[in-house]
C-alpha cells in the first residue's frame, strides 16, 4: 500500500468510529432528551410535535411540573414512595449486613444451601411471588401500610445486600479483627468501629441499589396497598396512564420520578471512596 493510501485508510477508520460513537450517544441519550423535551412542552408542541425539526417545543413551559407539585395525590404518592424506599434501605442493611458478615467469616454448615435459598426468591417473576406474600401479609395484617410494603421490598432486596456485603467483608483482612480482639474490643465493638467503616463504600453501593429497587417497584406496592388510601409513584403513574393523558404530563411525571434517585445517589456517593483498606496490611 502506498503511503497516501495507508493514511487515507487510517482517516476513514477514524471517521467510522466517530460516526459510530455519535449514533450510540443518540440512541442512549435520545429517549432521555425526548422525555425532558416533552416535560417542558406546551400543548401546541405536543400535538404537532414541536418546531420544524421536533427537537424543541414552541414555547417551553414548566406548567406540567407546577401542576404536579400542586396535585395532592401526586405529592402523597411521592412521599409514600420515599418513605418506603428509605425504610427498605434501613431494614435490609440492618438485617443483611450482619448476616453477610457471619456468612463471610464463619464456617456455617449448609452455607451453600442458605445462599441458594436466598437467591431463590428472585428466581420467580414478581407477579408469581406476590401471591403467597400477599396472602401471608393479609393474615399478618401487614397490608395497607408502609411498613408492610417495606418488608416486602426487603424480601426482594436482601439477597442483593447479602451477596454484595459478603463480597465486601471477604476483602477485609481477618487480622484487623484479631488485632482489635487483642486490644480488648468485643466482637460487636470491632464490628461497628472497624468493619463497618471499612465496608462503607460497598454498603453504600448496596444502599443505592436497594433504594432504586424499592422506588421503582410496582407489583408488591400495588397489591399490598390495593385497598388502602396511599399509593406509590409507580402505581400512580400506571393509574394515570389508563386515562391516556397528554405526553407532556407523562413526561413530567417520569422526570420527577428520576430526581430523588439521582439525589440519593449523589448523597451516598461521598461514602464510596476508593482505597478504603489502603495501608491496612502490607
Amino acid at each position: 500500500m502506498s503511503k497516501t493510501h495507508k493514511t487515507l485508510k487510517k482517516d476513514s477508520n477514524k471517521w467510522i468510529w466517530l460516526i459510530g460513537m455519535v449514533i450510540m450517544i443518540i440512541i442512549i441519550l435520545g429517549p432521555i432528551y425526548m422525555m425532558f423535551k416533552y416535560s417542558i412542552s406546551d400543548r401546541a408542541s405536543v400535538v404537532t410535535g414541536g418546531a420544524v425539526i421536533p427537537l424543541w417545543p414552541y414555547q417551553p413551559t414548566t406548567e406540567q411540573f407546577g401542576g404536579l407539585l400542586e396535585n395532592k395525590s401526586f405529592i402523597n404518592a411521592a412521599f409514600t414512595s420515599l418513605g418506603i424506599a428509605l425504610l427498605t434501605v434501613c431494614i435490609s442493611l440492618v438485617l443483611g449486613a450482619p448476616a453477610a458478615f457471619s456468612l463471610a467469616r464463619y464456617k456455617i454448615p449448609g452455607k451453600a444451601l442458605i445462599m441458594i435459598l436466598l437467591i431463590s426468591v428472585r428466581l420467580f417473576p414478581d407477579v408469581v411471588s406476590v401471591i403467597p406474600v400477599a396472602e401471608t401479609f393479609i393474615k399478618l395484617r401487614l397490608t395497607n401500610n408502609i411498613f408492610g410494603v417495606s418488608l416486602a421490598h426487603t424480601l426482594l432486596a436482601i439477597p442483593y445486600v447479602i451477596y454484595i456485603a459478603m463480597g465486601v467483608f471477604e476483602t477485609i483482612p481477618k487480622e484487623l479483627e484479631e488485632q482489635a480482639q487483642i486490644l480488648g474490643a468485643s466482637k460487636l465493638y470491632a464490628f461497628f468501629k472497624i468493619i463497618i467503616p471499612i465496608a462503607l463504600p460497598g454498603l453504600a453501593a448496596a444502599a443505592i441499589y436497594v433504594f432504586l429497587l424499592s422506588w421503582n417497584e410496582f407489583i408488591f406496592s400495588y397489591f399490598l396497598l390495593l385497598f388502602g388510601e396511599s399509593t406509590t409513584l409507580p402505581v400512580l403513574l400506571k393509574k394515570i396512564l389508563s386515562w391516556s393523558p397528554q405526553h407532556n404530563l407523562l413526561a413530567a411525571i417520569s422526570v420527577m420520578l428520576s430526581v430523588p434517585v439521582i439525589i440519593f445517589t449523589f448523597i451516598v456517593q461521598k461514602y464510596m471512596q476508593a482505597g478504603a483498606t489502603a495501608g491496612a496490611v502490607k
Binding site: P173, E175, L176, E178, Q179, A180, Q181, I182, L183, G184, A185, Y189, I194, P197, I198, G275, A276, T277, A278, G279, A280, V281, K282
Partner: protein, 368 residues
C-alpha cells in the same frame, strides 16, 4: 512483666499436628525468639500464647496464671502482626489510642501516652496521618507503638521486620534491641531469619516440623548444636555436612570420608566410644569459618591436612566464600579476602579440631 511457661503444649488442626509437645520456659524480661523454616509451628505457638488459637493439650502459664482459657485481652499481652494490621480508616493517633479508649483511660493520660510512644519510636508529627500516607517502616513502628502503649506484660512479635528492605531491617533490629533494653518487657519474637534471631535474642528456640529442636542462648546454640537440624539452620553460609565412617587409625578414632581422613581429638574420644561403633556411618560437620588455610594454621591443627581445589569464589566484601572440592565432596569455606586466590588453584586447608561436629545418622543427634 511476666514469664511465660509452655508445658507439653500440643496443637492439632484436625489430623495435622502443628505443634508437638512443646516445653518452653520464657523468663521474665527476656527476649526469646522462636526461629525455624516456614511451617515449623512458630507462628502457631505465638498465636496460642496470644489466645488466637486454642491449645489442644498442655498448659500455658503467663505470670504463673493458668491461661489456656483466658481471653486474649485479659492475658496481659500485646501483639504485632507481620502485616501490621493498622486500622486504615483511623489516624496514627487513633490507632495507637484504640486499646486505651476501650480500657476507658482518661483523655489526658491517652494524650500523654501517645506522645511518649511517638517520641520513643521517632514518629513525632505523624499523629494525624492515615496508614496509607506512611512508609513501610513508619507503619511498622505505629503497629509497635500501638502494642507498647498498653504496657503489656508480654510483647508478642510475629515477623515484624520481614516486610522491610534490608537496610531498614538492620536499623529496626537495633531499635528493637534498644527499646527492649529500655522497657525490660518480656518479648516472644517469631522469625525465619536466623540473623535476626542471633542478634536480638537472649535465648533462641529452634523449631522444625512442630518440634522444639533446641533452646538456649544464641552462641551456645550456635557453638553446641544438639542435632543436625539446628547445626545446619544457624550460620550463613551453613555448616558443611560430610558422610563419614567411623574408623580407627593406630589407637585413635578417625573419620573416613573416602577422599580424606579426620583425626578425632582425645578429648572427644569418650563421647565417640559411648555413642558409636567402628564402621558405623555418621555425619561430620564443620562450619565454613572453621576451615583454616594451612599458611595461617597453628601447630596444633597440623593433624588434619586436607588437599582441595578451588571451584567457585564468591567475594562478599568483608569475606571470601570459597567452594572447595575434595574428590567427590564439595565444602564451603570462609576466608579473609585475598585477591591471589584463583579458581582451579590447589589449596591446602586444615580444620579447627575444637570446632568439628559429629552426628548420628539415624536420629541426627550430636555426638559432639
Amino acid at each position: 512483666m511476666a514469664n511465660v511457661i509452655l508445658k507439653n503444649v500440643t496443637k492439632n488442626f484436625g489430623k495435622f499436628i502443628a505443634v508437638k509437645d512443646m516445653n518452653l520456659d520464657i523468663k521474665d524480661g527476656k527476649f526469646v525468639t522462636l526461629v525455624g523454616p516456614s511451617g515449623c509451628g512458630k507462628t502457631t505457638t505465638l498465636r496460642m500464647i496470644a489466645g488466637l488459637e486454642d491449645i489442644t493439650s498442655g498448659e500455658l502459664r503467663i505470670g504463673g496464671k493458668f491461661s489456656n482459657y483466658i481471653q486474649p485481652k485479659d492475658r496481659g499481652i500485646s501483639m504485632v502482626f507481620q502485616s501490621y494490621a493498622l486500622f486504615p480508616h483511623m489516624t496514627v493517633a487513633e490507632n495507637i489510642a484504640f486499646g486505651l479508649k476501650i480500657r476507658k483511660v482518661t483523655r489526658d493520660t491517652i494524650l500523654k501516652k501517645i506522645n511518649w510512644v511517638l517520641d520513643l519510636l521517632d514518629l513525632t508529627g505523624l499523629d494525624s496521618r492515615r496508614p496509607r500516607e506512611l512508609s513501610g517502616g513508619q507503619r511498622q513502628r505505629v503497629a509497635l507503638g500501638r502494642a507498647l502503649v498498653l504496657d503489656p506484660e508480654v510483647l508478642l512479635l510475629d515477623e515484624p521486620l520481614s516486610n522491610l528492605d534490608a537496610k531498614l531491617r538492620s536499623k529496626m533490629r537495633t531499635e528493637l534491641k534498644r527499646i527492649h533494653r529500655k522497657l525490660g518487657s518480656t518479648v516472644v519474637y517469631v522469625t525465619h531469619d536466623q540473623v535476626e534471631a542471633m542478634t536480638l535474642s537472649d535465648e533462641i528456640a529452634v523449631m522444625n516440623k512442630g518440634f522444639l529442636m533446641q533452646v538456649g542462648p544464641p552462641l551456645e546454640v550456635y557453638d553446641k548444636p544438639e542435632n543436625k537440624f539446628v547445626a545446619g539452620f544457624l550460620g550463613s553460609p551453613p555448616m558443611n555436612f560430610i558422610p563419614v565412617d567411623l574408623a580407627k587409625d593406630n589407637s585413635k578414632f578417625c573419620l573416613d570420608a573416602k577422599d580424606f581422613k579426620i583425626l578425632i581429638p582425645d578429648l572427644k574420644a569418650d563421647k565417640v566410644k559411648k555413642n558409636a561403633k567402628i564402621g558405623e556411618e555418621l555425619v561430620f560437620g564443620i562450619r565454613p569459618e572453621d576451615i583454616i588455610r594451612i599458611e595461617k594454621a597453628k601447630d596444633v591443627h597440623q593433624g588434619n591436612k586436607i588437599e582441595t581445589i578451588i571451584d567457585v569464589i564468591e567475594p562478599m566484601g568483608s569475606e571470601l566464600i570459597l567452594s572447595l572440592t575434595i574428590g567427590k565432596h564439595i565444602i564451603q569455606a570462609s576466608f579473609v579476602p585475598d585477591a591471589h586466590l584463583k579458581v582451579g588453584q590447589k589449596l591446602t586447608v586444615v580444620l579447627d579440631t575444637n570446632k568439628i561436629h559429629l552426628f548420628k545418622l539415624d536420629n541426627e543427634k550430636a555426638i559432639f
